[in-house]
């Protein structure tokens, strides 16, 4: 452990963070560095298989996740996961393999190694809210996000399913609100916090995504939010990248910047915009942040 760090984690970024969600990766690394939390990327990690793998082949999905857990075990610390889908798959795999000796045996044969069951898989939110703690997080704030009204969007996979021990209450989670309020922002009460955005249908059936995502943007806007905060690259892609298209289809204007949780928390602990990848967001967040005197 590096002496300057107060905690150490192994880090599983997931595929999106190396491409379409690069700002999530940049801001996560910078935020954790600032908070003196060590992140060591799991060497040569593989795709977790996400939804398509378990959709068509459960054994493949379980094997890919078990392989990643094995790779992660070689790095010190609990496993920090940024993407909600990777997080859900890795946790679900641990749960299924603990419950079913038959499936476990098949997976061990497929990866030709014993399954690592005891490693702890944690989403970044959990690390900020529980391991670091809200008090320590609040103490690190240099520029409180005063006056910024945030709609916290959980989407599907952060809190589900209910039988896997998880992040927070499955129907009424508050972990995102607690984290962002700890750094000075306001949160809004809104209806679509847990509704699905259509996720990977963005490739195969974009029309579905546009319809579902429009309802989410509409609800956030109606609740008086200035912006949306997410912890999942697919939610971000659908809300941010497709926002202009949705506005055109429904002849409306939302103009809601969509932030990763690490971007907003990073801003509050005093990181500069270039360290948070704010220039990468498609809906330009600069006018809003200037208006709130946060830039």
């Amino acid at each position: 452990m590096s002496p300057k760090n107060i905690m150490e984690y192994s880090y599983y970024p997931g595929c999106s963070l190396h491409a379409s969600a690069s700002e999530y990766d940049i801001s996560t690394r910078e935020l954790f560095k600032q908070l003196k939390i060590g992140l060591t990327e799991v060497p040569d990690w593989f795709c977790c298989g996400a939804t398509p793998a378990h959709n068509v082949d459960e054994l493949l999905s379980l094997s890919l996740c078990a392989k990643n857990l094995e790779l992660a075990d070689k790095v010190e610390g609990d496993l920090a996961v940024a993407c909600a889908a990777c997080f859900s798959r890795l946790k679900t795999t641990q749960h299924i393999l603990a419950e079913s000796p038959v499936k476990r045996k098949q997976v061990e044969k497929a990866i030709d190694a014993p399954v690592k069951m005891d490693s702890k898989v944690k989403h970044l939110l959990e690390i900020l809210a529980r391991d670091l703690g809200l008090e320590r997080l609040a103490a690190a704030v240099k520029k409180p996000l005063k006056g910024l009204k945030v709609a916290c969007y959980y989407g599907c996979l952060l809190t589900r399913p209910t039988d896997v021990p998880n992040l927070d209450c499955v129907e009424a989670p508050t972990i995102m609100e607690r984290v962002i309020e700890a750094v000075g922002a306001e949160t809004v009460a809104w209806t679509h916090r847990l509704e699905c955005c259509g996720a990977n249908f963005t490739l195969s059936r974009p029309g579905v995504v546009i319809q579902l995502t429009n309802a989410i943007l509409d609800s956030a806007k109606a609740a008086g939010a200035d912006c949306i905060m997410v912890g999942c690259p697919l939610c971000h892609g659908n809300l941010d990248i497709r926002q202009k298209e949705i506005e055109a289809v429904y002849s409306t204007e939302y103009g809601l910047p969509v932030f990763y949780l690490t971007q907003l928390v990073g801003l509050a602990v005093g990181l500069k915009p270039d360290k948070l990848g704010l220039g990468v967001n498609i809906v330009n967040p600069t006018p809003l942040l200037r208006e709130k005197q946060l830039l």
Partner: protein, 197 residues
């Protein structure tokens, strides 16, 4: 007897394929008999409006052993795996796992829907893992458009995403690619020998 194209199937001993339902239950680790049709799954399902059989009816058809009506349609391919249904079921029927089991059993079921773009996207996604170890989003989108004949789909998004660095033109291969190939081929091998589901 080809039942697939019929909209409705009379309920009888002959039409009730209990063996198939047992396979679904074994794969999903959940029992369809626990469902008492409260409809809470369909009420919360974000995709129900796109399905011809909403989630509670999928379970009802399984209870009656009429799986052909489910597999011939698009319901299972419009499930987003958001798991709202499993979360809210008062009887702990894990509907999201049932959907996974049905999609898997549709591989070689006679009369199952094969047209779906969703299936194409899933297939390309898994091919990418086998070839690169990780997702290669640029290639995934490009190949999907070509293979689905929608050459212009999301064309306007491309340059913007490239300029922002959100799409990578080249993907570096994972260093231990032989490991991933071994996992894929071991699973194929186990299936061929009947050692895996």
């Amino acid at each position: 007897m080809s039942l697939v194209n019929k909209q409705k199937i009379p309920l009888s001993q002959e039409t009730m394929d209990v063996d198939f339902v047992r396979k679904v239950e074994a794969l999903s680790g959940t029992s369809v008999r626990r469902c008492f049709q409260c409809g809470k799954c369909s009420a919360g399902c974000p995709m129900a409006t796109f399905m011809e059989h909403p989630p509670n009816r999928v379970v009802r058809l399984l209870q009656m052993g009429q799986w052909q009506r489910i597999l011939a349609g698009r319901s299972i391919w419009y499930c987003a795996s958001c798991e709202t249904c499993s979360t809210r079921c008062p009887n702990k029927v894990h509907l999201a796992s049932i959907m996974d089991a049905l999609r898997k059993l549709s591989w070689d079921a006679e009369g199952a829907s094969k047209e779906s773009y969703v299936q194409l996207a899933n297939k390309l996604f898994l091919q990418n893992i086998r070839t690169y170890g990780r997702q290669y989003e640029m290639r995934l989108a490009a190949v999907f458009n070509v293979r689905s004949g929608q050459f212009l789909k999301d064309l306007m998004l491309g340059p913007k995403l490239l300029a922002k660095g959100k799409l990578k033109m080249f993907q570096s291969k994972n260093k231990n690619m032989s490991e991933i190939e071994k996992i894929f081929s071991r699973i194929e091998d186990m299936r061929a020998k009947g050692e895996a589901l």
